[in-house]
């Protein structure tokens, strides 16, 4: 197990290198000039050249790339051109807000998905299944940018239960988490339903019911646990969409996280900050998927990771 974990951790290095290289290439390829974004278009050409030199943007792209990788190797993500601060400092200030939102979104997703998935999977084809899956389709179909303001109008403007925007206490977290978690809930619910239907047809479930367990008890004690591996897989895989969902959700709810930071950095062509944000998102995804693999073994003793 430890050997496996070590091997997976080492495999993060080429992934990080790949992400760093791709991000570097893409952000340098798209049109737009960080120096003009900083100095404005009335700046004198000499000032623009001076600034370009100061930031090292006048050096060959390969040299810039080597410098970037060199910094990365010692944990230096460079200095943001728009914030004029070290990227690592800015990212570390904003990352907790995104993790808080993503975790809350996942919690909401599970809170909705499990009852829906169980109800639907226990009675496939029934009215409950139809209702639950109808809700799931609706959840997948509504974009964050539409759902967010709808929830705001209902819970904040009409019912006056929750604050509209910003990051504060628990109350501020509810609406963005619902916005972020609804689509994911729908996906997980559908997967859970499917897994339960498969599990229900298995021999051990028939045996359990034959031994006198009620169908509900058989699902709770045996079915759910066996259906969990595929659900955990989908949770790990959906981490990417959860993290990308934070970009829109953070914009709608004025949530001061990494997603908003990234959008601003792209607009300002703040190369170091874009690279730092994307790398952080990518590493989070990798680590979550590693954690997912470990959780398999804990949930299902038949799985041996080696």
């Amino acid at each position: 197990m430890i050997k496996y974990l070590m091997r997976r951790l080492v495999s993060i290095v080429p992934v990080a290198l790949g992400v760093a290289t791709l991000t570097f290439a893409i952000i340098h390829l798209v049109p737009g000039d960080p120096v003009v974004a900083m100095l404005g278009d009335s700046a004198a050409p000499a000032d623009i050249e001076g600034m370009r030199h100061q930031l090292g943007l006048d050096r060959p792209l390969l040299t810039q790339y080597a410098t970037y990788l060199g910094g990365l190797a010692i944990g230096d993500l460079g200095e943001s051109t728009s914030y004029r601060k070290p990227v690592a400092q800015i990212v570390s200030e904003r990352f907790p807000a995104t993790i808080e939102l993503a975790a809350a979104g996942m919690f909401v997703a599970l809170l909705i998905a499990f009852p829906l998935g169980i109800v639907a999977g226990s009675n496939p084809g029934g009215a409950a299944d139809m209702g639950a899956m109808g809700f799931a389709i609706l959840g997948i179909s509504i974009p964050h940018i539409y759902l967010g303001p709808l929830l705001m109008i209902l819970f904040s403007l009409d019912l006056r239960w929750l604050p509209l925007t910003g990051r504060g206490g628990f109350a501020h977290l509810v609406l963005p988490a619902m916005t972020l978690g609804t689509a994911l809930a729908a996906i997980i619910a559908r997967m859970l339903r499917h897994s339960l239907i498969v599990v229900r047809a298995s021999d051990y479930m028939r045996t359990a019911i034959g031994k006198g367990l009620s169908p509900r008890a058989a699902i709770v004690r045996h079915g759910l646990k066996n259906a969990m591996t595929s659900v955990i897989t989908i949770i790990g895989l959906q981490m990417g969409s959860l993290l990308s969902g934070t970009l829109i959700t953070e914009m709608i709810f004025s949530w001061p996280g990494l997603g908003r930071l990234l959008i601003g950095a792209i607009g300002a062509r703040d190369y170091p900050l874009v690279e730092g944000c994307v790398l952080t998102f990518a590493m989070t995804y990798v680590v979550v998927n590693l954690a997912t693999d470990v959780v398999y073994a804990l949930v299902d003793p038949r799985v041996r990771i080696s």
Binding site: P31, G32, L39, R84, L111, W161, G166, S254, G267
Partner: protein, 521 residues
């Protein structure tokens, strides 16, 4: 059996959700602001709390509440003294500012000419990396012969020199922003910054050393709300007290229906225009540009799409500007005249009514709706407009590098007619503001004369000719001047709008009813 199970599951879900909402709402304070605090929503975060650095509109709006400058622009668009109580211009290259006495920074230090000199010299210091350095390129020297006199010298006679006198003044010795606190340096303006968290909030409190009207706001919470719909919702909920020039025209009727909100719509100076790439031979033909001008029904766009929140423009300068001259060629909607001009230019219509004239129109996602309107209007005269939508930084980069045929942009905060020099003079091509590579020797001579002529009456005559020539030759098709539209809670009284959208009057408005703060000395 099934329905019982559903009912049970539903009860569980509803009770969990209800508990969550109840727990959440228990800690929820509606606006949560202390008495006398007003919330102002910005759409974008200020980039810097140091007035030597921030050139973006949000930083300017924030910093003018905190820092005084030698001169400021008043509600009539005229330069008036701020820190300067008297201004002399003894020679065409020299301006002397006599400072007010007893002005103090919010930390108690007295503001003197040394602070002014330091502020300007630090902006000019390349190490500060200030974007404002470019705007001071005509400044040859700044001296402080005594504590209350500042002398600015320019290399040549420079008519818009007073524009250089609008920089916010920081205390002598203020370090670069990286080494200073995030709240920024102290200023001598009406408010002082308590805290600033980029992309979240800026908390401002009254400068105790500043005079205020009774019941003026004790504090201002500037909140960054990027989404326009959410800004409208915050106003409707009563969380936000003021939102200026950052709401969609479509939501204004809905906001107007809220009895506790009021809308202030006043003529503004923000100028929207169509521009052409003059390196494209087809667009260098003035007949094509005029045909496009006649084909765009600006009055209808202003009425229906902008809901009358703009005025059809004749040129860069709005009627409120001292140099405005509206006696120029106008281009009312006339598709027939447009078609004639296109025929004359050698683009006859084919059997389908379309011509051999396909123009790429670059825009941002926000501009796509307007682009489609232009597309439909130009199609009526047989021009195919291909709308290319790209995100803003890419768009701006492409405009900068001349990789466009036609586009639409706007200029915000035009005060001095020298703007004509900056955008149309043939020496001002990128990285300057003449992104269209327009060149007209007659206009070059006029705008250069306008920049070097100090006498106001003479300048006015020069710019009358400039406006006529620009309207004839059409480097830009003037679209409209946008109104300044502010939506605010009715508890805010005496708000005075500025044509350039400045929020200076947040310091002079008063609060009605509960929530008004006690007046200071």
């Amino acid at each position: 059996m099934v329905s019982a199970r559903i009912a049970h599951a539903a009860r569980v879900v509803v009770s969990i959700a209800a508990s969550a909402v109840l727990v959440a709402s228990a800690g929820c304070d509606r606006a949560g602001h202390p008495p006398g605090t007003i919330q102002v929503d910005f759409e974008i975060s200020p980039l810097s709390t140091d007035p030597r650095i921030g050139t973006d509109a949000a930083s300017s709006r924030l910093n003018e509440l905190i820092f005084d400058s030698l001169m400021k622009i008043d509600r009539n668009g005229e330069f008036v003294g701020d820190l300067a109580e008297r201004v002399e211009r003894p020679t065409p290259t020299e301006i002397i500012f006599h400072l007010r006495r007893e002005v103090r920074f919010s930390d108690g230090r007295e503001l003197t000419a040394r602070d002014v000199k330091y502020t300007y010299e630090s902006i000019e210091n390349p190490e500060l990396r200030s974007p404002k350095r470019a705007s001071l390129k005509e400044l040859k020297a700044i001296e402080a012969p005594d504590d209350f006199t500042v002398v600015m010298t320019t290399a040549n006679p420079y008519a818009p020199a007073l524009e250089m006198a609008t920089e916010g003044i920081v205390p002598d010795g203020t370090p670069p922003p990286l080494k200073s606190a995030s709240a920024g340096p102290p200023g001598s303006g009406p408010f002082m910054m308590l805290s600033f968290t980029r992309d979240e909030t800026a908390k401002l409190e009254r400068n105790p050393l500043h005079k205020f009207e009774p019941n003026s706001p004790a504090a201002i919470l500037i909140k960054i709300v990027p989404d326009a719909t959410v800004r409208a919702l915050e106003l409707a909920e009563g969380v936000c007290d003021f939102s200026g020039n950052n709401l969609e025209a479509d939501v204004l009727p809905w906001l107007r229906a809220h009895p506790f909100l009021k809308i202030s719509a006043t003529p503004g100076t923000t100028y929207k225009y169509l521009s052409f790439n003059f390196r494209d031979a087809r667009l260098r033909d003035v007949r094509v540009r005029r045909a496009i001008a006649y084909a765009i029904d600006r009055a209808t766009i202003v009425k229906s799409m902008l809901r009358d929140s703009a005025r059809v423009a004749t040129g860069l300068l709005a009627p409120e500007n001292w140099a405005y001259d509206g006696d120029v060629t106008a281009y009312p909607y006339d598709p027939e005249r447009s078609r004639q001009l296109l025929d004359e230019a050698g683009y006859p219509a084919g059997a389908d009514g379309m011509r051999r004239l396909q123009i790429d129109f670059k825009t941002t996602p926000e501009g796509a709706r307007l682009a489609e309107v232009f597309q439909a209007m130009l199609q009526r005269v047989g021009i195919a407009l291909n709308v290319r939508t790209v995100e803003f930084a890419t768009y701006y980069g492409e405009i900068q590098s001349g990789n466009f045929e036609m586009t639409s942009l706007q200029w915000i905060g035009i005060n001095d007619p020298n703007q004509y020099y900056m955008v149309f003079n043939s020496t001002q091509t990128p990285p300057g503001m003449n992104r269209e590579y327009y060149s007209n020797p007659a206009l070059d001579r006029l705008v250069e004369a306008g920049m070097r002529t100090i006498d106001v009456d003479e300048r006015k005559k020069i710019y009358a000719q400039v406006q006529r020539l620009a309207a004839d030759d059409l480097p830009y098709v003037s679209l409209w001047w946008s109104d300044n539209v502010a939506v605010m809670n009715r508890r805010l009284a005496n708000f005075e709008p500025y044509p350039n959208g400045s929020l200076r009057s947040l310091a002079t408005l008063t609060l009605q009813g509960p929530g008004g703060a006690e007046p200071s000395r």
